[in-house]
């Protein structure tokens, strides 16, 4: 009886197709209702998909529950249902207490208003009473470290200040149930550390937290139990280490290649269309498993619908535990940058070779990013593909022991005997 959240058979169906840009014109509506009248057809069911279905779970008061799953698995839909942003299509959820959501920090921030004004506005939007905001005001300002600029319009803030302020307001909301979606994907390491700290404070105060993230190390650190969502259903619930392992290994079923269909994870009016990302072994074959002792490549195939200026396409490499290993862009080299930073409309492959004797054995995650520095990010998927590195033949293989760290470079050692 001590549940904070009880979810029974919850489901959400979305209509797709027919409304490419999300809304209809009156003409379409009139035309389709006339058609329906004349032919007496019911609205076609193939135009709908279940983003979430048959979801059952409960969360005890004070529990921190992790939710993991690929893009499109239904995580965001679940959080939107629980924070009442959208209505379910079927089922029921009971929630005891106030829900505060960090679905996106800075919601309702207005660039023309000052930091002080935005704290009040944003607090009210998130459901705080004015007296409550006044009480927390100093704490929020200190958390955000913006005291000097509190009466400056936030459009003049650096992105770091903006984020800290936005997170500060949301984090001081003190709801009984806090819903957090991927806030930690933004900001620098210091900011992330701060956010994680604030979140574990919240958890220690006995409040319930639902935490959605692609960052496995954050999930492992903050949660004890985790739900794995796939295609709108719960495929696993268990202690976090087990759930993360389950999730990471099921990811490997993707066999070294990931393709995007038009509209998957991106808007079709976006000029950058990702097509596929692949891991190729030393023979150039698509592989989900490569040897640490051989070179291999990562290639990213995409289409530009128009000429883009300042474009860079690159990869992030991270371990399955969420530690970042490196970031590399296709125009890092100054000479390539001169030649290809402006790219014509067309079909491209950006391919990079990853040298042998660099990575340690284990599961790695490739993220992709296509952006124009400080102008626009066209496409990001922090979790585009996973692959496994086999350490057979790596430096030090004569000792059958796992090595620490994500890299396992072949280094030149010099051994000198020092004679006294």
């Amino acid at each position: 009886m001590n549940d904070a959240i009880r979810v029974e058979d919850l489901g959400k169906r979305y209509r797709i197709g027919g409304m490419p840009s999300g809304y209809r014109t009156l003409r379409d509506a009139l035309a389709s209702s006339l058609r329906r009248l004349s032919r007496r057809e019911s609205p076609p069911s193939k135009d709908t998909i279940w983003a979430l279905r048959h979801i059952n779970f409960n969360v005890e008061r004070g529990q921190v529950l992790g939710i993991v799953g690929r893009n499109g698995a239904g995580k965001s839909t679940l959080l939107k249902l629980l924070s009442r942003v959208t209505d379910p299509t079927e089922g029921k959820a009971e929630i005891y207490g106030r829900v505060g959501s960090l679905l996106e920090v800075g919601t309702g921030f207005h660039p023309e208003l000052t930091g002080r004004e935005n704290i009040y506005l944003n607090g009210a939007i998130l459901g705080m009473k004015r007296a409550e905001i006044e009480r927390k005001f100093d704490e929020i300002v200190d958390f955000a470290e913006v005291r000097k600029f509190i009466d400056t319009p936030v459009k003049r803030y650096s992105s770091g200040m903006y984020l800290r302020l936005a997170f500060g307001v949301a984090a001081h909301l003190e709801p009984e149930i806090l819903v957090v979606d991927e806030v930690l994907a933004v900001g620098d390491a210091e900011f992330q550390r701060k956010c994680l700290g604030k979140m574990s404070d919240v958890a220690q105060e006995g409040r319930t937290v639902l935490f959605v993230s692609h960052n496995m190390s954050a999930i492992l650190r903050l949660t004890e139990e985790t739900i794995v969502l796939d295609k709108g259903e719960i495929v696993m619930r268990g202690p976090t280490p087990e759930a993360v392992d389950f999730y990471m290994t099921s990811e490997m079923a993707r066999s070294g290649e990931r393709r995007w269909e038009p509209g998957d994870d991106y808007q079709t009016d976006n000029p950058f269309h990702p097509l596929a990302i692949r891991v190729l072994d030393s023979q150039g074959r698509v592989a989900d498993r490569v040897l640490s002792s051989e070179d291999f490549s990562v290639e990213f195939e995409y289409e530009l619908q128009e000429e883009l200026t300042g474009l860079r396409v690159g990869v992030y490499l991270a371990t399955s535990r969420g530690e970042q290993v490196f970031t590399s862009f296709d125009t890092d080299n100054p000479e390539t940058y001169e030649r290809l930073t402006d790219r014509r409309k067309g079909h491209y492959i950006s391919k990079c070779r990853i040298p042998r004797d660099l990575l340690n054995g284990g599961v790695f995650i490739i993220g992709v990013n296509a952006s124009s520095f400080r102008i626009r990010s066209y496409f990001t998927d922090e979790h585009a593909l996973t692959f496994t590195v086999d350490p057979t033949g790596a430096p030090g293989s004569q000792w059958a022991e796992p090595r620490r760290g994500p890299v396992r470079p072949a280094l030149n050692w010099e051994i000198t005997e020092v004679v006294a």
Partner: protein, 286 residues
């Protein structure tokens, strides 16, 4: 000790929220809206503040807009067309008609667009959605108050004394707000589904202005059915009544004002019902 009582209090106030599909017609939860009254206040405050921060002339626009319209109306309708202004100085006549009209017009136009411009809020945070169009309508009251000061100045200048019926002014103001909210709710909810609304609204408002006695006197409307049709437009009652209350010109509101009130209440209630029905899909379609 203190902390225990606090946490006990918290336990008691902890409310149960049941989330499940809603079907059919439902009534707007006014108690919930009351709980969110501070949000409405902050949204109004934001609208006003941002408008005055972003524009060069700031608050002056609240006065300039009706003032310039008044100058144009005076030149064309009184100067050229020689329309009767019930014996009031034409500038005062037009300005006093424009005040409640602009309050209505801006309220409807802003409320109609409010959900679309506020889509980032709607898709991220829960609150009673009606707070958004409501705040858009209420924000116009600030502009109204500024322009009202100018009206007082003009009345002093032209030597027009307010009547004893001036106490009824807030009632006409309320009627204008109720009508604006009713129409605004309809348009905002329709606008989420059909962006055509954005194109229709300016025409609707223009036609509506000529159907209301802003540029002419209500005494021009012939008796009989035409009068009743005229009374169906709540803004006709508002503009006519507003002038009568403050300038003492034209006819006092007749039984027709009851028709206007009924119509305004009908617009508000139907608007709320439609809004509530569509509300659950806002976040998915907007």
């Amino acid at each position: 000790m203190n902390q225990t009582t606090q946490s006990l209090e918290k336990q008691e106030t902890e409310q149960l929220t049941v989330i499940q599909p809603t079907r059919g017609w439902a009534w707007i939860d006014l108690r919930e809206l009351w709980r969110y009254r501070e949000l409405v206040y902050f949204l109004v405050w934001r609208d006003v503040k941002v408008r005055y921060k972003q524009t060069l002339l700031g608050a002056a626009w609240a006065i300039l807009k009706p003032f310039l319209s008044m100058v144009i109306f005076t030149v064309i309708f009184s100067g050229l067309a020689n329309l009767d202004t019930d014996g009031a100085p034409p500038p005062v006549f037009y300005f006093s008609g424009l005040l409640p009209w602009v309050l209505f017009q801006d309220g409807v136009a802003k409320a109609g667009n409010s959900l679309v411009t506020g889509s980032s809020l709607i898709t991220k945070v829960y609150f009673p959605r009606i707070a958004i169009p409501l705040a858009s309508v209420l924000a116009g009251v600030v502009d109204f108050a500024l322009a009202f000061v100018v009206l007082i100045g003009m009345m002093i200048y032209y030597g027009v004394r307010p009547t004893e019926a001036v106490w009824t002014l807030p009632l006409f103001l309320l009627l204008a707000l109720v009508t604006a909210l009713g129409v605004g709710l309809w348009l905002s909810a329709l606008n989420v589904q059909y962006r055509d609304v954005g194109y229709v609204t300016p025409f609707l408002l223009q036609a509506w202005m000529f159907a209301s006695p802003v540029v002419y006197s209500a005494t021009l409307i012939p008796e009989g059915w035409a009068r009743i049709a005229f009374g169906l437009n709540p803004m006709a009652g508002v503009v006519q009544g507003f002038r009568w209350a403050i300038l003492g010109v034209g006819e006092p509101p007749s039984e027709l004002i009851i028709l206007s009130i009924l119509m305004a209440v009908f617009l508000l209630i139907s608007g709320m019902l439609y809004f509530k029905r569509m509300e659950r899909t806002f976040a998915d379609v907007v």
